[in-house]
Every structure is written in C-alpha cells, then in structure tokens.
C-alpha cells in the first residue's frame, strides 16, 4: 500500500501519495494548472508556493515542482508577484556611475533583515548580491545572482520593497555586455563571415555528392 499524507491545498484537505511533489499533488487532487506551472524542472520560477506545516508558525517558500509533499502541509500559491522592473536602453547605459542605484534607488533602503536570502528556493545569498549592487560591484552581483529563476519570492518578503530579480538581471546584462572581457576570436569570425569568406566552401559542401560527403564526415578529424 502506497504511503499517503494529508495536505491542505489552497485551504482544502486532500490525501495524496507521499512521493509526489507539491505540483503533482495538486494535479492528483484534480487541479488543472494553467498558472503556476511552467518547466516542471526548477528552471522557470513559475511555480512558487508558500506553506507552513499545520499548527506551526514558520512559513516556507519553495518551487512546487521541486519539493515533495509532507504531512500537514498547508499550501498557498504565488502565481504572479508584481515587481517593478525599470526599462533602459542597454546600448546607452554604462556599467558605472551608480547606474543600478539610479534605476533602482530602493536597494539603498535594504534594512539587512535577510528575509530575501531565507526565502530563496535556489539557496542564493540574495541580500549579498543586493549589497554588491549598492557598492557598484556589478560583476560580483551578476555571479551571485546567476542561478536566479525569477520566482520573486524574495520580493514578496522584502520590507524595503526591492525587486531583487530585476536588479540581478540588470547586473548580469551589464556584466555580459560591458564588464566581461571582449572575445577576440568571435569578433574576428564575425568579420570574416560578413566579408563572405565562407561562401565558396559552403557552396561546395552543399553541392557535394552524398557518397563524397559521407566519406568526408566519417573520416573527419575529431579534436581531442
């Protein structure tokens, strides 16, 4: 006999197999998910839920596709949390002059409560990357926020009303475009292609008889 647990999904009591994730338990209970379900693999941040074990004080926030049900779980959903993303022209801004602080001045209102970090289902040190952003250390903020899936649980818990995921994303885009070292071999290849350097070679391959190109493929040298 399969082990069952009692859970409360959006306030209603259900008995579900103990092996299921919270998301699967919702489907088992009969919910037809449209909101609050995305990649089902922990990469998209669509399925944040908030729960406490019945009778306890502590609230937990997790991705429902990545968390197993437990006895007494009382589950609520966070399908969409409003953050305040600022728009910018990536070609016109620079990774200097406190640009992140200018676009997101509320980061300086952080009171250091660390609720954001405690709430992160990815285990990121959210408060730390906000601190890096405050100090203009955008590359550090970029790396510290890199695994963010944008579920915005952090923002839902922040007394300073910071939109953390948007701050992290801006820091990463600044890093990718301006701070990371330029890639010379890429620039060189782009110039060659724009110059049409590979057109003749590709024409030849496109027209090559099947047996000839098979031979070429099967005998090609493979980089170690």
């Amino acid at each position: 006999m399969e082990e069952m647990v009692t859970v409360y999904l959006l306030g209603k009591k259900y008995s579900v197999p103990a092996t299921l994730t919270i998301m699967d338990a919702m489907e088992y209970a009969g919910f037809k998910l449209i909101r609050g379900c995305g990649c089902r693999s922990g990469f998209c941040g669509a399925c944040a839920v908030i729960y406490r074990i019945k009778g306890t004080t502590e609230l937990k926030v997790v991705l429902s596709c990545q968390t197993k049900v437990e006895e007494g779980m009382c589950v609520g959903k966070i399908d969409s949390f409003p953050i305040n993303k600022r728009t910018f022209n990536i070609d016109e801004i620079k990774a200097s002059d406190n640009i992140v602080g200018q676009l997101y001045p509320e980061i300086f209102s952080c009171i250091g409560c660390n609720a954001c970090t405690k709430g992160c289902p990815q285990g990121l040190n959210v408060m730390q990357y906000i601190a890096y952003a405050q100090r203009g250390e955008y590359e550090k903020a970029a790396h510290a926020s890199f695994d963010c899936v944008g579920c915005n649980i952090c923002a839902s818990r922040c007394p300073a009303q910071i939109s953390h995921s948007a701050v992290g994303l801006l820091c990463r885009r600044l890093t990718g475009k301006y701070i990371a070292p330029k890639c010379e071999h890429l620039e060189k290849r782009v110039a060659e292609i724009e110059n049409g350097d590979y057109v003749t070679l590709l024409e030849k391959l496109k027209k090559m008889p099947l047996e000839e190109i098979k031979e070429l493929y099967n005998k090609r040298e493979i980089e170690k």
Partner: protein, 535 residues
C-alpha cells in the same frame, strides 16, 4: 539514509570498483555500420508501433507519431462556434505566436524592422523549452573551427537529411547570433582573456559548445524577455492561438486566440504571422517521459497543417539519452549532455563502459535501450530499468569544485532529493526531448502559405532527422531573427483582404470524407492525474 534502494547500492558498488580503471580509458566510437544497425533495432523511431499514416492534409500518406496524428486529424476548437471576424480585437503588422526564445528573437527583429508587433503566448513570456536548455549553444567561432566544419558535423549527425540551404544559414549565422546575444548582455562562460569556454557535444568534431554554466537557455531567455519589455513590445499572456486566419487570397492574416481567463475568443488581424510555438514532448510519444516544458503540445504544427502548410520529418523524434530515471519526483527531467561533455561516463549495472559517452543523441539513446533490454545490463529503477551516469569522474578529471561551477543546476536538482552527484553516480534512461521535424520553411523562414513564417522547434528540416546538442538554442536565435526581419519586410508590402476561416471548414470536410476523427486540437495543455484514476 541513502536516497537509493539496496539493489541500486549493490550495483553502485560495482561502478565504484571500476571507476579508477575507467578514468583514463580509451573508448572506441561506433563505426557507421554499427550505428545504422543500432538505430534500426533499438531507436523508438524505427519501431513499427507508435506511428500512423496521415489520411488528410498536405502530408497525406506519410507517417507521424500516433499521438500527433490524433491532433493533426483532430477537430478544430472553433467547430460550431459563431465568430464575427469583422470584430477585430488586435490589429498589427506582425503577430508572433509563442513567447520562447524564437518568438522573442523574432519580435525584437520585427520591431527593429519598423513593424508594429504583438506577441501572444499560451502561458507566460519565457515559459518555453528555451528556458530549460541547459547544456549550450554551438557556433563555429574559434580558430581551429569554421562554419564549414560545423556544417559537416550537423549534416552527418542529421543523417544527411538536413535541408542544405537551411543548414547553411544556421552555421553561417551562428557566430553572429553569439555576437548579438553578447551585445544584449548574455553572460557566456569565458576565460580571463575573453576566450569562450567551449566543450564538445555528442557528434561534434570541434569544441564549439558555448555555455552559461548549465543555465544557458535560461540565461538567454531571461535576457531576451527583458529586452522585449525594454523595447515596449506588447505581450499577451495566457492567450493561446487556436487557429490561423487566412484572407480570401489564401495569405496568412492573423489568428484566433482563446483568452484563458475570460474563456473568450479574440481576433488578431496581422499582415504577417510568425509561428514560434515550439515542440511536442508533452504528447508523450510511445509512453516516454519528457524533458519538455508543460506547454510543448505541437499546437503550431496543428494550426499550420490545417491551414495547408506541409510538415517535414514529423516522424523523427529525439530521445535525449540521459533523462532522470530516479528519483520519481524528477522522472523524465533532463540531465544535460554537458555532464558527459565534461567527463561523466555511461556505465551499466556491472560497472562496465559500453559506449563512448559522446555519440550523437539518437545513437546514444539506442545504445542505452539495447543495454537495458536484450543485454539485460540495466538497474531496476521505479517501473523500469536504467543505467548509471558516473558523475564523480568529473571532479577526478577536472578537480574539486568543477561540478558546482559548470553544472550548478544539476547539482541543485539532485541535492533537493538527497543525492550528491559529486559523490554518487545517477540513474538515467532516454527521455522524449525534441521534435527534429516540423513545418517546412525556406531560408527566409517562410512557409508555403504566403505571410506565414516559422521559427524555433516548430520548424523542420534544419537538423535532418537528428539534431546535435547546442544546435537548437542556435536555431531559435538564427531563424527567430530571420523570421522577424523577413516578416516585417513582407508586412510592408502586404494588403490584406477579408479574414476567413474557410480553410478550417474545408479541412473538416476533407476529414469527414476520409472518415478520420481525432481529438480536439490544438491540445494546448496535457492532463496529468498521477495515478488518481487508478484508485
């Protein structure tokens, strides 16, 4: 307590016992003849079961997966619905259907081309297979590589069935795509001097796999989505398209949407349409689990087919060799090929190597299935059998900390269920991963229906009958951009006539004539009950 069962632990001990001697072992690759034989005998595409010959539409007489046939030969959601097509809810130059990587790239380029653009998507912007592509994106941008070498790798890997002019676009515009993404701020893994960190994928002859840790697709998707917002492109979420609209001359002229919140139909008139609806993993062909997104139900193929656009290689499905076979909570999820790129080996229940870890995906999947079936060398896992992916090798080869740095997503996914893949190997089995075929396009991304463009996984022909790792993230960008640019250009010269759904009626009549009746389609979302009905 270990997360593994006792039987698994016994087999794992054998894997551990042979690890040191396997570490630097030279492993032969299969010959061309061995590969052909493996595929014919063990790849699900070659199974006689699981396919149906289509009886209606442009590909009448050709076989497609049974589950897809039921939708292609299905019933329109608008059958019997009275809809006033004169009442237009949205009127734009370019309509983009789908909010994944291809749709976002297309929208950005269409707007840059001067068009008014509307993106409509079934779930949220960015809810797509792009977000879940972990391993990397190919592009021939290093000195020892060239677009021609990339062409050869993809052509051989695709069984010489790739459409040459499409493949030429893919490989030639590859480095340009990386450049475009870098300039938008995508953080590729680089050495300190700016050199891209690149690895092999299955079937590559040069190390041209660029990555952003194992969040490559997620990193690309979140940057593209952010840029769509920055550019003020309107996005309508939770509003899947359910039929294309044509005009009296047969030009594509928009789509009918189903608003998920109000349950109302919305009419979009558009001078050109870009179909970017992605794949079909959630149709679970032949009962396989899938690594795909919740919304991957082949909607675009169904709508385009009904409107008269031919498909190509719709019977060629990619089973990713390494899907999660255990634990149950993440069954079917993707274990990125990058795990093998950086040193993990495939090992059977006896602790033996049985293949080179970087064969092309179809060959690798077939080889794993052979090992688990006729050879009986699988490990019992959940309802089936599985093989080991020996992940502790990675840090023996490249040093401590490599896994956290290069595949943090994998480390985290397993850790949540009590497995530390730095110390223990993991159990895998092939999972339904990618639709190699799709809607036929030309090199401008346009279909046989004037004004209908396609980009991303919904396209067929670029990859032949087997796509290489890292060529999908590349194709969504390359063909997304082409589709956006060309659709915006075409919109300028287009004068639409009266909107019509006559093609849907004509198709239904053809179905009636042929005596076929499938399911309500497009499917939009799968239904899961996790065994509730069996109780």
């Amino acid at each position: 307590m270990s997360a593994f069962t006792e039987d698994m632990l016994k087999s794992m001990a054998k894997v551990e016992a042979t690890r040191a001697q396997r570490l630097h072992a030279t492993i032969e690759r299969f010959t061309a003849e061995e590969k052909d034989a493996l595929l014919k005998e063990f790849h699900p595409d070659y199974s006689a079961k699981g396919f149906k010959v289509l009886e209606v539409g442009p590909n009448k007489g050709q076989k497609v997966p049974t589950e897809l046939a039921a939708l292609l030969e299905g019933k329109s959601r608008l059958e019997g619905v009275k809809l006033d097509l004169e009442r237009i809810d949205y009127d734009v130059d370019v309509l983009v259907i789908g909010g994944g990587g291809a749709g976002a790239s297309a929208a950005l380029e269409a707007q840059r081309g001067g068009a008014s653009v509307l993106v409509v998507t079934k779930l949220r912007m960015g809810d797509a297979n792009t977000m879940m592509a972990e391993g990397g994106i190919q592009a021939a941008d290093k000195a020892n590589d060239s677009p021609a070498t990339h062409y050869l790798d993809a052509f051989g890997g695709g069984h010489y069935k790739n459409i040459p002019e499409l493949l030429e676009e893919l490989v030639t515009k590859g480095p340009l795509a990386i450049d475009w993404l870098s300039k938008l701020g995508v953080m590729f893994d680089k050495e300190e001097d700016g050199t891209m960190v690149t690895t092999h994928g299955g079937g590559t002859s040069r190390k041209r796999m660029h990555a952003c840790a194992d969040y490559t697709g997620a990193e690309i998707m979140r940057v593209l989505r952010d840029e769509v917002v920055n550019r003020g492109i309107p996005v309508l979420e939770f509003a899947p398209a359910i039929e294309l609209l044509l005009d009296e001359e047969g030009k594509c002229a928009g789509a009918v949407l189903l608003d998920y919140d109000s349950n109302e139909y919305k009419v979009v008139r558009a001078k050109t349409v870009i179909m970017a609806t992605g794949g079909a993993g959630r149709l679970h062909y032949q009962g396989f689990p899938t690594s795909n997104h919740y919304g991957a139900t082949a909607d675009g193929l169904v709508m385009a087919y009904r409107a008269g656009a031919p498909l190509i290689y719709a019977d060629a499905i990619q089973y990713h060799p390494t899907g999660v076979a255990y634990p149950a909570q993440i069954y079917g999820a993707l274990v990125t090929e990058k795990v093998r790129s950086i040193g993990a080996q495939l090992v059977n229940a006896e602790g033996e190597i049985f293949m080179h870890p970087l064969e092309t995906r179809d060959v690798a999947a077939a080889s794993i299935i052979r090992e688990c079936t006729v050879r009986g060398k699988g490990v019992k896992a959940l309802d089936g059998v599985a093989l080991w992916l020996d992940t502790p090798l990675i840090e023996m080869l490249h040093g401590e900390g490599t896994i956290a740095k290069r595949i943090p997503g994998m480390l985290r996914m397993y850790a949540k269920f009590g497995i530390d893949l730095r110390k223990e190997p993991i159990l895998i089995y092939p999972t339904l991963h990618y639709q190699n075929g799709g809607i036929l396009i030309d090199k401008n991304a346009e279909t046989k229906i004037p004004g209908l463009f396609v980009a991303g996984e919904a396209v067929g022909g670029i990859h032949g009958t087997n796509r290489l790792m890292g060529n999908s993230l590349l194709d969504i960008i390359v063909f997304g951009r082409i589709a956006g640019t060309k659709a915006a250009e075409a919109a300028k010269a287009t004068r639409l006539g009266k909107l019509s759904l006559e093609h849907v009626k004509a198709y239904a009549a053809e179905e009636k004539e042929a005596g076929v009746s499938g399911e309500l389609s497009p499917k939009l979302l799968p239904v899961y009950t996790h065994g509730r009905d069996a109780r």
